[in-house]
Amino acid sequence: MYKKAQVNTIDLIIAVSLFFVLILSFILIWDNYAKKLDEKVKYDNIAEKAIKITDVLVNTHGIPDDWETDSENVQIIGLTSNARIVSDNKLEEFVNLDYNFIKQNFNIEAFDFYLKVVDSNNKIIQIDDDNVEIGIKPSLDSEDVITIQRIIARGGTEVVLEFTLWK
């Protein structure tokens, strides 16, 4: 009986050791996955917002259609006049809107954004001598940054709208 109990004790110690090693591994792996999942959820959230915003900007006229004539009452900001052709008037009015007003309109109060429209030489286009850009550029310390590039037709040429959403 005495020897039998010893064998069981040694076996129990091995089993408990293995159990703790396993639990520790499980906790470490779980923690790692939880962090990755959290990062992915944050990235997906910001990416989804950025893509939806650029979709509305490059595919719609906005609401009302001629919101650029009364930009204070714009409900939804869209930048095109005809199908997928950007309107210079809307672009000009858009970059003159208040930054915080645009954030509120886009429902991205918790984020910051930077938008510019560049030509084929990667230079910011100008309308009436004003650069078509608005917003705050992300810094090197910014954690969540996503840039969406969209190509739009403008007066017989193509330009690239770059929208950066960051936190």
Partner: protein
């Protein structure tokens, strides 16, 4: 007297138990790992490629820059505006002519297509692939 007959098999019950438990937990962990790895594939990045391809060929079509049906001209127009971080290839199939630039890449890239009506009323289908360099 052998060990088995002297002590029986009872002494191994914890080890057997933990082995079975470990086996099950490892299977669960591996399954979780595979599922999380799959879910980490960046679907929004693919969506960006689809959208920029759609934007590109829509804009070129609107501006009549696909009408030449010439692969060099169209290629030049694409390279002019497509951001430098993307590669592309396309195939423009019309009734009497096929223009193709580049070879269709293999792997997990996304292709799409668009119906194009040229100035000369040629009905063509352009198939294109855009992927990051």
């Amino acid at each position: 007297m052998s060990l088995n007959s002297r002590y029986g098999n009872k002494g191994y019950i914890f080890t057997l138990d933990i082995s079975v438990a470990m086996f099950i937990v490892i299977i669960v962990l591996l399954s979780s790992f595979l599922l999380i790895t799959r879910s980490n594939e960046d679907s929004y990045s693919f969506l960006q490629h689809v959208k920029i391809g759609d934007d590109l060929f829509t804009s070129l079509d609107i501006n009549g820059k696909l009408d030449s049906l010439n692969k060099a001209t169209i290629g030049s127009n694409i390279e002019n505006i497509l951001p430098s971080n993307f590669n592309y290839t396309f195939k423009l199939e019309c009734e009497n002519k096929i223009s193709q630039k580049g070879t269709f890449p293999q792997g997990s890239i996304i292709g799409s297509e668009r119906l194009v009506v040229t100035d000369n009323l040629d009905f063509c289908i352009v198939r294109y692939w855009i992927w990051p360099k």
